[in-house]
């Protein structure tokens, strides 16, 4: 075997790479024996509930806690000023987002509350029910302030400034220009559209959960956290509670869904930790569902004014966008609330060869729930805008939208390439993927069917969306801005005395199968069956320093660390074997937990025997030899700032033009995410992501009234996608590995969400085309569709 070939790991015998093996170690989840944070009980544990502002913007004049303190079961009632002695505030800015400004944020608001739902006091009691009783007895003297809730007005002279110290409500803005946009707009056919994206949120089924256990005697803090990035949180807890980082242990056990919601700093979680330090007892906080809606980060509240210029021959000659987004009153820490807008600017038309592009984005503060990164950050908006413009432009010059895409997608043979925004692409497969998609969905057949059904008064719609997805980020994403967010990954693999392999990794698991992927890669790299591998993640005391899970990095970056560590461990095992067998290690290999002759596979000795000798009989090994059956390797992408993937999605649906209701009939994806370690897990990530994107396209919207009140903050009123309305999703793959790693794997976790809203809205507009109407509103509700049709008048 050529160990020095670019993707040598893929040539390993008995490889698990590319195999859809069922995830090991999830039987406990099937039997209801998982350990989510709320399943953990510690002795003398207390529960916290928060007094939350009923107002979008209100000064806190006084807080009377006497009655609450006297309530049955209540142990403590703490206000913002009191808690500030235990927890320092934070500011969500990064230096590479020039000009980004934000006010310091405290664990409990002190002078005023800036969004409906912001926590201003904490009641700690023996049970959650008693804590809630206490909350009802806390008397806050509020002085209501005008709420800033219309992002279009946020920068007007007459609009109050939320944080006087900042001078205005502008958090950040950016302008970008490439080529000569105005020339193209002067010459070619121009289409203008306004895209509106409704604020929505993650709705993880397990709400946010944290159990902080401060051991005063050791000044040691243990936090059980439903979270994606234990090392990041370790640093944040240590920094703001004034503890030594190595005396903070963060444990992320079973996490009931995250999708980016659980990778941010939440004031109420910091408050919970601070309370444990203050009270010297374990304190547990489980956000209930009503709290979640007014405290989990929201995302994607944008209005994008856009226009596209298209030449008669179908070339897209220019795109311009003007984006406005209203975030919360604070930029979220440490990833900032400007990244979503920045991504949108960067990702518009990234799949196309357009050379003239101008973009402007403004991020403004609002008295609403803070906004930050949520699965596919910015991609759904950039894709929906780009692909909506392409369809509209195609219609304007009467060209088939597929043909327009063919003429403008970056050619498969033109890599490495750059997007007009400077994004670097190592290798993508837009053309091949599109061709595959059209074939697998029988595009021509569907068009014929659509024509037939139209004659019967049935309005089918076919929508396509091509996209790129940013995965495997390097330090260019956060590190360069000063954030203590690591882009590298570490993996330690060791062989135990029985020949089993234990893999401790810095990536984390929330159901996507990160542990399975690590197990498959480790088993392959070392040469053992899958059931001989045990993967440990989510414990800062045990795993190497790692970034956790976000931006679809676990398989590509974590997997590569496992490849390299596994290779080294195999070598070290063979060193021992060579000593025992008096053979050159290079002539040996490990297959199925047995050391064999590389040349003919002849069985020589088992790993269990090597373990026995190495650990219990080192007296039988040469004096100058020391076995070292453990290896740690770290990996960070170096060649490219991000490993971009590409995909294309199609939606087939029916619009009932009488009622405005949309029925999703089918969905297709072709995805290229490089080397696929476990096809089933990748496909299931895509499916879940698509359904999340469909939620945003049709159902999900955090609705605010003019006073900054969230009016649909429950699962009865906020519509998440449920089984009966979702389509079956067919998936195919193209494989363009990255040369930036031996594994060649890119990420795949967010592709579904990136492309689905664009595909669905394009399908709706395709269905409505005979009526000569378009709509660009997410979610496209029945009323929105009826309004676009002119059946009902706009509000």
């Amino acid at each position: 075997m050529n160990d020095t070939s670019l993707h040598a790991i893929l040539d390993r015998p008995n490889s698990y790479i590319g195999r859809s093996v069922p995830r090991p170690n999830i039987r406990r989840l099937l039997q209801g024996r998982g350990t989510y944070v709320d399943d953990v009980h510690l002795p003398r544990m207390l529960h916290v509930a928060f007094v939350r502002s009923p107002y979008a913007h209100a000064a806190i004049e006084a807080i009377d806690t006497a009655a609450a303190k006297a309530a049955a079961g209540v142990f403590a009632v703490v206000t913002g000023a009191e808690l500030a002695e235990y927890c320092t505030p934070w500011v969500g800015v990064l230096s590479h987002l020039e000009g980004l400004k934000s006010q310091p944020q405290h664990a409990l608001a002190i002078k005023k509350a800036c969004w409906q739902g912001e926590a201003v006091a904490a009641v700690v009691a023996n049970t959650r029910a008693e804590a809630e009783d206490g909350v009802g007895l806390v008397e806050v003297q509020w002085r209501e302030l005008p709420a800033v809730v219309d992002m279009e007005r946020a920068l007007d002279a007459g609009t109050p400034v939320i944080h006087a110290d900042l001078g205005d409500n502008l958090a950040w803005q950016r302008e970008y220009e490439a080529g000569d946009v105005d020339a193209a707009f002067a010459t070619d056919t121009v289409v203008e559209e306004v895209f509106t994206f409704g604020r929505h949120t993650g709705v993880t089924l397990e709400p946010r959960a944290i159990l902080a256990d401060y051991q005063a005697s050791e000044e040691h803090l243990t936090v059980h956290h439903s979270n994606q990035a234990p090392h990041m949180m370790q640093n944040i807890f240590a920094t703001h509670m004034g503890l030594e980082e190595h005396n903070v242990r963060v444990i992320c056990g079973d996490v009931g869904g995250s999708f980016g919601i659980k990778v941010h700093t939440y004031a109420d979680e910091m408050a919970t930790v601070a309370l444990s330090v203050m009270l010297r007892r374990p304190v547990k906080f489980i956000a209930d569902r009503l709290e979640s809606f007014v405290s989990d980060i929201h995302a994607r509240d944008h209005v994008v004014r856009a226009r596209v210029a298209i030449a008669d021959d179908g070339r897209i000659t220019a795109i311009e966008i003007n984006d406005l987004t209203g975030v919360g009153p604070y930029s979220v820490y440490p990833r900032t609330s400007a990244v979503e807008a920045n991504q949108i600017v960067n990702l518009i038309a990234a799949q196309y060869t357009v050379e003239n592009y101008r973009a402007r984005t403004r991020v403004v503060f609002q008295n609403k729930v803070p906004m930050c990164q949520y699965r596919a950050v910015g991609h759904p908006i950039a894709t929906a805008v780009t692909e909506g413009l392409v369809d509209a432009a195609a219609a304007a010059i009467n060209m088939d939208p597929i043909e327009v895409r063919r003429r403008n997608l970056i050619a498969d043979d033109s890599y490495p390439a750059k997007a007009v925004t400077g994004l670097m692409f190592e290798g993508l497969s837009h053309q091949q993927s599109l061709a595959r998609l059209l074939e697998m969905m029988d595009y021509d057949g569907l068009r014929a069917e659509q024509t037939r059904r139209r004659a019967e008064g049935v309005h089918l719609g076919i929508g396509i969306a091509t996209f790129v997805e940013l995965t495997n980020p390097s330090a260019m994403f956060y590190g360069v801005g000063g954030a203590r967010i690591t882009a590298q990954e570490g993996c330690t693999v060791r062989m135990d005395a029985k020949g089993n392999i234990i893999c401790a990794a810095g990536v984390t698991e929330q159901g996507q199968g990160a542990e399975a992927v690590m197990a498959q890669v480790t088993a392959t790299a070392v040469g053992v069956p899958l059931d001989k591998v045990r993967v440990i993640t989510g414990d800062t005391d045990v795993t190497p320093y790692g970034g956790g899970t976000w931006a679809s990095r676990a398989a590509g970056i974590g997997g590569e660390a496992a490849v390299q560590a596994g290779k080294v461990l195999r070598g070290r095992i063979l060193d021992v074997a060579g000593t025992i067998l008096q053979a050159e290690p290079a002539t040996l290999d490990i297959r199925e937990s047995r050391v064999v002759d590389m040349a003919d596979g002849r069985d020589r000795i088992g790993l269990d025997e090597i373990g026995r000798i190495a650990y219990f009989r080192p007296d039988t090994l040469p004096k100058e030899f020391q076995s070292e059956l453990v290896a740690t390797r770290h990996y960070v992408p170096k060649q490219y700032p991000f490993a971009f993937t590409n995909g294309v999605q199609a939606s087939l649906l029916e619009v009932d033009i009488e009622t405005g209701f949309v029925t999703l009939l089918k969905h297709w994806v072709v995805e290229d995410c490089g080397t696929v370690i476990n096809p089933q897990l990748v496909d299931e990530q895509i499916r879940g992501g698509i359904v999340q994107g469909i939620g945003a396209a049709l159902f999900e919207h955090c609705q605010y009234d003019g006073d900054g009140q969230l009016i649909n903050g429950s699962m009865m009123d906020y519509l998440t996608p449920m089984a009966a309305e979702m389509p079956d999703i067919e998936i195919a793959h193209v494989v363009t590995p990255t040369a930036d790693s031996e594994l060649g794997a890119k990420g795949a976790g967010e592709a579904g969400t990136a492309g689905a809203p664009g595909a669905v809205l394009n399908a709706i507009n395709d269905a409505l085309r005979p009526m000569d109407v378009r709509l660009n509103v997410h979610p496209a509700t029945p009323e929105q569709i009826l309004t676009a049709l002119g059946t009902v008048k706009p509000d």
Binding site: T127, R128, A129, E132, D133, G136, D288, R289, L290, E658, T659, G660, F661, F699, H701, Q703, D705, I711, N712, S714, M716, L719, M722, A724, E725, T781, P782, E783, L786, T791, V792, K793, D795
Partner: protein, 283 residues
């Protein structure tokens, strides 16, 4: 979201229940709990006592006697879906009930609970209105029977006086030729409807008689579109006849909008439902 503390009592007779309600004016009645429990969990209500009537015998009986279908207040939605008597005498209920929530909800929710709560978006109040049914109410002063048209008085408002309990529902077994139709527009399976219609009438050779069109989820209570129904009395239910009849539906029923689904949209939806349900009645 944990409820505020309350006393829990489980009377074993109607008299005992009424006595408890009389003694504790801010007590609430717990039947299926599918609507009350969310309210308790969210602390939208904080009663001193929760009176669980599930142990009162006979309150869940379903029977047909003297051309009257009698359904006890504690009959579960799941029972309405599968009861042979109801499938026979009031299939509208069996069909409508499948739109209520999901199986686990229907295993617990009761008809008495649904009618007493009077959620304007609920299906069963509209069905009762369409079928010309009545509710039997028991109270400290005895029992009375009220037609559905007099029972629902507003959003979560009924003719139930403090201390009274809805004990049963009575529906006349229809004569031959009566048919029912039902349709609702909901964003997701099991959701509360954005607009709904329960229709009931006699179809005779394609002509409609005695039509009762009960719209729900569009106002503060289920509403009979009486003028619209009158226009169709004796008429063949053609597309034109229906279109003409629903033209002034907005004058016939008082539609109230909700965020994201305004008055105009709801009214339009009602017109669509009317056409679809009435067309189906004569299909």
């Amino acid at each position: 979201m944990k409820p505020a503390a309350f006393d829990y009592v489980k009377p074993s007779s109607v008299d005992e229940a009424l006595a408890l309600l009389g003694e504790h004016p801010d007590a609430v009645v717990l039947a299926g709990g599918q609507s009350l429990m969310p309210m308790l969990n969210m602390r939208l209500v904080a009663p001193s006592h929760v009176v669980d009537i599930a142990a009162i015998p006979g309150l869940d009986d379903i029977s047909v006697d003297n051309n009257t279908l009698r359904i006890g207040a504690l009959a579960r939605h799941a029972d309405l879906a599968s009861s042979p008597q109801i499938l026979e005498a009031a299939p509208l209920l069996s069909e409508a009930v499948l739109h209520i929530g999901h199986p686990a909800i229907r295993n617990r929710g009761t008809i008495g609970g649904s009618l007493s709560l009077a959620d304007p978006a609920a299906e069963l109040p509209a069905c009762l209105l369409a079928l010309g049914g009545s509710v039997e109410i028991v109270g400290p002063d005895g029992s009375r029977v009220l037609p559905a048209s007099e029972f629902f008085s507003g959003t979560f408002e009924t003719a139930l006086k403090p201390g009274e309990l809805l004990s049963a529902v009575e529906i006349p077994v229809p004569a031959a030729g009566y048919r029912a139709g039902f349709s609702e527009l909901a964003r997701r399976h099991g959701d509360y409807a954005l607009a709904g219609l329960a229709a009931f009438g006699r179809i005779d050779g394609g002509s409609a008689h005695d039509l009762r069109l009960a719209f729900f989820a569009v106002g503060d209570r289920p509403m009979l579109a009486t003028a619209t129904a009158r226009k169709l009395e004796g008429q063949k239910l053609t597309a034109d006849a229906i279109a003409a009849a629903v033209e002034n539906l907005g004058d016939d029923i008082q539609v109230i909008g909700q965020p994201g689904c305004g008055v105009e949209t709801k009214l339009h939806h009602c017109g669509v439902l009317a056409r679809r349900v009435l067309t189906q009645l004569v299909a």
